[in-house]
């Protein structure tokens, strides 16, 4: 019986090739967009997670309280909250407190110019050589500055690849002198490309020796933008966090930890925030794709209704020679299911195919779950939207159906 219905359905689908193809197109687009959008979401999330991994999970970032919040305005700033003394105190606790190194970072907005080209990188760090180790980055062209440069407050810079490209284009930046907020600095090195595009571009960075930044750009004794604390290992990260908190509370003469004027972030927290953000993004993308699948289903219903009314007479004949209700329902439901599952299969192929196209920033990741869900939903859509037309066909009275011309 199923086999006979299947043959009838195949014949009907092949008998109206263009119409069948157009019906399936809706589902093909729906299914493939579910797969592609979910793969893009997953890929982007993976890329960010990978970059966070690169930073090392044993690095803590200390910021002033309110630094990341909207409630701190410039005029309200009190005494210096994060200072070189804090860095020294953390450094002094050493391995016993789980701390490998503490790195001071001066942040300020800078504008770079070179031969008329101007560029403002998103990230500026006046820092020590330890910064490279803590951030797990290295210089792969030219050289990093050394202790002597640092001591003499040499005006040298290391550029990220994005900054280098924006400012110099295809020319070799090494040895060139650029202007940083009006002061002349020499480009001595380039950071290895990190990858990651858009707002997460880690190559959009300029590094300046701490002393040189202090003397030329921020002024001596300036507030530190952040302190990076690297734990001796991943396992000691929690210990290092506790040590850091205790040390800074003591340094700042604060007794109640709730009153702390600083915040400590670890990579796990940052990652959790990123995961939440991307989870939401995926949900949104999935919803958009789901809607297109729904629209595809309505297309199936539309065509099945047309098919049913076109084949009214045929339904009448079948009922006259003894087809039961279930035979008619089964026949049209099977036809809708075939359309939707064939559309779903093609959609899977298209979706998986398109998802192979990656960008420099990240590669979309197709998961089995998304393929199965997309295909399953397209079948359900066929079943759901096919059942109304099928029932309508089965409810026709044979006499009315036969009389239909």
């Amino acid at each position: 019986m199923i086999r006979d219905s299947a043959r009838i359905a195949v014949r009907a689908i092949l008998g109206n090739r263009l119409r069948s193809a157009l019906t399936m197109l809706g589902l093909i687009i729906g299914v493939s967009s579910v797969i592609i959008l979910l793969a893009v979401g997953r890929g982007a999330q993976g890329a960010i997670a990978g970059e966070l991994e690169d930073l090392g999970t044993n690095v803590l970032t200390v910021l002033r309280r309110g630094e990341v919040g909207p409630n701190q305005t410039g005029t309200q700033s009190r005494d210096i909250e994060l200072s070189l003394d804090d860095v020294q105190a953390l450094q002094d606790r050493g391995a016993g407190g789980g701390i490998l190194r503490a790195v001071p970072v001066l942040n300020t907005g800078v504008t770079l110019t070179w031969r008329g080209a101007t560029y403002a990188p998103s990230s500026f760090a006046g820092t020590t050589l330890d910064y490279l180790a803590a951030q797990n980055v290295r210089v792969d062209a030219g050289r990093a500055w050394d202790a002597e440069d640092e001591r003499r407050r040499e005006r040298v810079v290391i550029l990220g690849r994005t900054v280098s490209r924006e400012l110099f284009g295809s020319e070799n930046p090494l040895g060139q002198r650029i202007s940083v907020n009006g002061r002349r600095f020499e480009v001595i090195g380039l950071l290895k490309a990190q990858g990651g595009g858009g707002p997460f571009d880690e190559d959009d960075v300029i590094l300046v020796p701490f002393g040189a930044a202090e003397s030329n750009l921020t002024g001596t004794g300036a507030e530190l933008g952040q302190i990076l604390v690297q734990a001796t290992s991943q396992e000691t990260t929690t210990l290092a966090e506790t040590t850091t908190r205790e040390t800074l509370l003591a340094e700042h003469d604060i007794e109640d930890p709730g009153e702390a004027d600083f915040q400590i972030f670890n990579q796990a927290q940052i990652r959790a925030v990123a995961d939440t953000t991307f989870g939401l993004l995926r949900l949104l993308l999935g919803a958009v794709a789901g809607i297109s699948l729904l629209v595809g289903g309505i297309g199936v219903m539309n065509i099945m209704l047309v098919t049913v009314s076109e084949r009214t007479r045929e339904i009448g004949i079948r009922k006259a020679i003894g087809a039961q209700r279930i035979h008619i329902v089964g026949q049209f439901l099977l036809e809708a299911l075939m359309l939707s599952s064939l559309g779903g299969l093609i959609g899977v192929a298209v979706g998986v195919g398109v998802a192979q196209i990656g960008t420099e920033a990240f590669q979309p990741v197709v998961t089995w779950t998304s393929v199965l869900v997309a295909f399953g939903v397209s079948m359900l859509v066929g079943l759901f939207f096919g059942s109304y037309p099928a029932n309508r066909a089965a409810s026709m009275r044979p006499i009315d159906a036969l009389r239909f011309e």
């Binding site: 045929e314 009448g316 004949i317 079948r318 006259a320 020679i321 087809a323 039961q324 009275r397």
Partner: protein, 271 residues
């Protein structure tokens, strides 16, 4: 269900003149009426029709268009229900049957032949003939055998794989007849079976009905053509939804139908 005792002695009295009386009627209609409503006007398609058809008869129901003969056929064929009156088919009151039981009766006990052939398009002759067996749940191999036999018996053993569009009108009607007899029904119902055929095809199709009747099947032909009625053993005439005459012909087969005398009909096949 089918073939259950009538359980209603009143039915015996319904036997109209012309039936033998000692055989149970296959079809018994008593005061059957059917009214259609077209807007505000009521059209009385059938008014109190009482009719009994015995087993093995070859009955022609005649009448001009609008006389109610198609409505009568639809009711006899369980495609439609009467508004009032009783219809007992093989001892079963049709009005008491569910939709599914009616479908079952159409499938196993009645074979339909329509004026427009009503074959399923894009489907080979063999599959068209198999269809009632599919709905009856007959196994594939058996289906194939029975359908092939039925097509052979109507002289189309060499056209099994032809689609309806590849067959002439007469051949299509033969396929339809094969489909009607493949479940070995007791009753064959034909609605203007020759209406779309030329004279040669008409003769051969009518001879086929005579043959099937000779094998013991009850045949009811609905027609408005006098030539067709010459094959019948009994002719019932309808007018305005009433039976106006009911005559039994003797030696129906001896009467030359004279179809050859009929002028060539243009072959009016549905597109």
């Amino acid at each position: 269900m089918i073939g259950a005792p009538a359980g209603d002695p009143a039915l015996a009295r319904d036997s109209t003149p012309g039936t033998d009386g000692h055989r149970r009627p296959m079809i018994a209609l008593r005061e059957v009426g059917k009214t259609f409503h077209l807007g505000d006007t009521a059209v009385h398609a059938l008014r109190d029709v009482t009719l009994a058809v015995r087993e093995g008869d070859l009955l022609a129901i005649m009448g001009p268009s609008g006389s109610g003969k198609s409505t009568l056929m639809n009711i006899i064929g369980c495609l439609d229900l009467p508004d009032h009156g009783r219809y007992v088919l093989e001892g079963v009151d049709v009005r008491r049957l569910t939709e599914s039981e009616q479908a079952s009766i159409r499938n196993r006990r009645i074979g339909f032949v329509f004026q427009g052939f009503n074959l399923i398009a894009r489907t080979p002759a063999l599959e068209n003939v198999e269809l009632p067996l599919v709905y009856a749940g007959v196994a594939r191999r058996e289906r194939r055998r029975l359908a092939t036999e039925a097509l052979e018996s109507v002289g189309l053993g060499d056209r099994l794989d032809h689609q309806p569009s590849e067959l002439s009108g007469g051949q299509q009607q033969r396929v339809a007849i094969a489909r009607a007899i493949v479940t070995d029904p007791a009753l064959l119902l034909a609605d203007e079976p020759t209406g779309a055929l030329d004279s040669v095809s008409t003769a051969s199709v009518l001879e086929l009905f005579s043959e099937l009747n000779a094998q013991g099947r009850t045949v009811v032909l609905i027609t408005h053509e006098e030539e067709v009625s010459r094959y019948a053993k009994r002719v019932v005439r309808l007018h305005d939804g009433r039976v106006v005459s009911d005559e039994r012909r003797t030696g129906a087969y001896d009467v030359p139908p004279g179809l050859a005398a009929r002028t060539a009909h243009t072959e009016a096949l549905p597109a």
